[in-house]
């Protein structure tokens, strides 16, 4: 059999090397030129994150616990859920993971807020135009299927290690569900009701605020929920580029084969995930009580 059928006629290693090198060099010079500017662009976010982290770390744990319990109750009106939240956080504290949990909580909340502030308007924009949808959908597909580690690389090259690149990675990773489900939710709103709003002469904003968003809310809430979950799972990986929190001990445990340490911190992440999930879901359900 001829040689070229057995081995794929690939470009020579030298050629490949020169391609990758030139891409890397190009990106490197880009990041040298603009890295600082981009970093200072994100400074306000860094300040926000640090400020919030400090609040969570400096406030006595009893007060934080009370606030968490009140939020859980306010969102769900479900005492069993509230008890679950209380127990989860008591265990986290008792096993010495309080501080890391607060750090993780801070970055999750800040990242989620950013993701929603960008994601919901993007979803609305997408729902209003088939062209925009056709352009953004493949971008979201790439964002969701690209292996997570791959897009840590350019972020680190651009911004180095630290909180900002970590946040950026988390937001990029977590934002697709809320965009997708906002778009889908608005597109699925009952056509009759939209027609009624048009027939009564409602304006674009009125229609959006009083009809489309409220009726799309179940889907948007599902998107928010998924976004939080993805942010949480990304936070562990982002510890590789210097994000502090529950991810760091997990990373340590992996490299040093500390099974128990990894397990405890892993369980704390699971606990946080369950708390976020149940509380946000029962809040979503409560908003839908008229159905």
């Amino acid at each position: 059999m001829p040689e070229w059928l057995l081995n794929f006629p690939a470009m020579t290693p030298d050629a490949l090397r020169s391609v990758t090198r030139s891409i890397d060099a190009g990106y490197l010079s880009f990041s040298r030129a603009f890295g600082d500017a981009i970093e200072s662009f994100f400074d306000p976010l860094l300040l926000l994150l640090i400020w919030f982290e400090q609040i969570l770390l400096r406030t006595p744990w009893v007060i934080i616990l009370m606030v968490l319990v009140l939020i859980a109750y306010g969102a769900s009106r479900n005492l069993r859920l509230v008890a679950g939240v209380l127990i989860a956080f008591l265990l986290i504290g008792y096993f010495g993971m309080w501080e890391n949990t607060m750090r993780t909580l801070a970055i999750i909340l800040v990242c989620t807020v950013i993701a929603l502030m960008i994601g919901i308007p993007t979803g609305i924009w997408m729902s209003r135009s088939d062209r925009v949808q056709a352009i953004i959908t493949p971008v979201l597909d790439v964002m969701q299927t690209m292996p997570i580690f791959v897009y840590l690389i350019p972020v680190v090259m651009l911004l180095g290690l630290g909180k900002i690149p970590g946040m950026l990675a988390v937001v990029v990773y977590a934002i697709p569900p809320v965009i997708r489900l906002t778009n889908l939710g608005i597109r699925l709103v009952d056509k009759d009701v939209i027609e009624a709003a048009d027939a009564f002469g409602a304006g674009t904003w009125q229609k959006l605020a009083r009809v489309q968003l409220p009726l799309a809310l179940p889907n948007i809430m599902a998107g928010i929920n998924q976004t939080i979950m993805m942010a949480l799972s990304m936070v562990v990986i982002a510890s590789m580029i210097g994000v502090k929190g529950l991810g760091q001990p997990v990373l340590q445990a992996v490299t040093n084969q500390y099974f128990a340490l990894g397990l405890f911190n892993g369980l704390a992440v699971v606990g946080l995930a369950i708390v976020f999930d149940r509380v946000s879901q029962s809040y979503g359900k409560r908003l839908q009580q008229h159905r």
Binding site: D190, V193, A196, D198, A199, F200, G201, Q206, R210, H290
Partner: protein, 348 residues
């Protein structure tokens, strides 16, 4: 002279549709010539890929009257109705409302027009599930940007007028279908619009509830005198509610006239089969069948506008006599007998 007469007539008609044609498809203007050549609906679909929903409809709708649009499913009723508030744009033709060309309105003017001049009631209610009854009724008012106290007050009045007092803070899902459509009706009336579009508003309801809603509409209409365009596929409903009935078939206007006129002289077999099951006793008046001389009459006088069923009841005690049919002023028009009345009621 003729011209001014025409203009006066148009002013009296609340709504005038002139040669309205609607093609659904990618390039309606390319296909329009074939419509004018008279190519039929199927050919236009098979050979040109467009759905001909309306062909050359001209119709004058009188102020303060109930205009019925009737026809089988797919005949273009909803499409026609949605042209009047421009939820659908025509492929050709004109729409005048109180002499004003609706197609000339820009976006802003169209919104104002929909907020104040014309409102709509939908087959599947189309209420906001997350808002209370009160808020739903106030929807049109909030689109008008009325003050919140005015919204509350007006909405409250209409909630009571449609018989939903006490349900202000309920949600639509907690109400039966009939009650939900009362909300739809109140929402439409609350804006104060002169003109009301109703797209099969009672078709989704049980027969008993449907009659109840028809009664409510007639009662409100006798007080309000709105210009109502009411779409239905139910001939009983049409003759019960309508001052005029327009019948569509495959997007064409087949006949337009008062209910009695359509019942007594249907234009073709399509209309004849359509109306054959209508309860004539209730809608046909005895004046339309009065004939012959009146000197030998020995029965009671019957006013010409009396429905046949009522006349039959008056005559059951006089089975063998002929009765005079008179105008309201007592002027004799002709005579009827119990037999002739019952025959007319049973006519096909």
């Amino acid at each position: 002279m003729d011209e001014t007469h025409g203009q006066i007539e148009e002013m009296q008609s609340a709504i005038v549709l002139q040669r309205l044609t609607k093609l659904f498809g990618p390039t309606p203007s390319d296909v329009l010539p074939f419509v004018h050549q008279g190519l039929d609906k199927n050919k236009i679909f098979n050979e040109h890929g467009h759905v001909l929903a309306l062909r050359d409809i001209s119709l004058k709708i009188e102020t303060g009257k109930v205009q019925i649009i009737m026809g089988l499913s797919g005949s273009g009723k909803s499409t026609l109705l949605r042209h009047i508030n421009r939820l659908i744009e025509p492929s050709a033709g004109r729409i005048l409302i109180r002499g004003r060309d609706v197609l000339s309105l820009d976006k802003q003017e169209l919104r104002k027009f929909r907020q104040h001049q014309i409102s709509m009631v939908f087959q599947r209610f189309a209420l906001l599930p997350h808002r209370t009854i009160q808020d739903n009724v106030a929807f049109g008012l909030s689109a008008q940007k009325a003050t919140s106290s005015a919204q509350r007050e007006t909405a409250n009045t209409w909630v009571h007028k449609v018989g939903l007092g006490g349900y202000e803070n309920s949600f639509p899902a907690q109400l039966s279908g009939g009650m939900q459509q009362r909300v739809g009706l109140a929402r439409a009336l609350a804006t104060g619009a002169e003109c009301l579009l109703m797209d099969e508003p009672f078709s989704a309801l049980d027969p008993l509830i449907r009659t109840e809603m028809q009664d409510l509409l007639l009662e409100l209409q006798s007080e309000l005198g709105k210009t109502i365009i009411f779409v239905t596929h139910d001939p009983d409903e049409a003759v019960r509610l309508g001052d005029n009935i327009a019948i569509l078939k495959d997007g064409e206007l087949i006949q337009h006239g008062a209910p009695m006129q359509i019942l007594t002289s249907p234009k073709n077999d399509y209309i004849r089969t359509f109306i054959q099951d209508v309860n004539r006793g209730r809608v046909v008046s005895v004046g339309t069948i009065a004939n012959g001389e009146t000197k030998t009459c020995d029965g009671p006088d019957i006013v010409a506008t009396t429905p046949l069923a009522e006349a039959a009841r008056l005559l059951t005690n006089h089975p063998d006599v002929s009765a005079r049919v008179v105008t309201e002023k007592g002027h004799p028009l002709g005579s009827v007998t119990l037999t002739s009345v019952v025959e007319a009621m049973a006519a096909r």
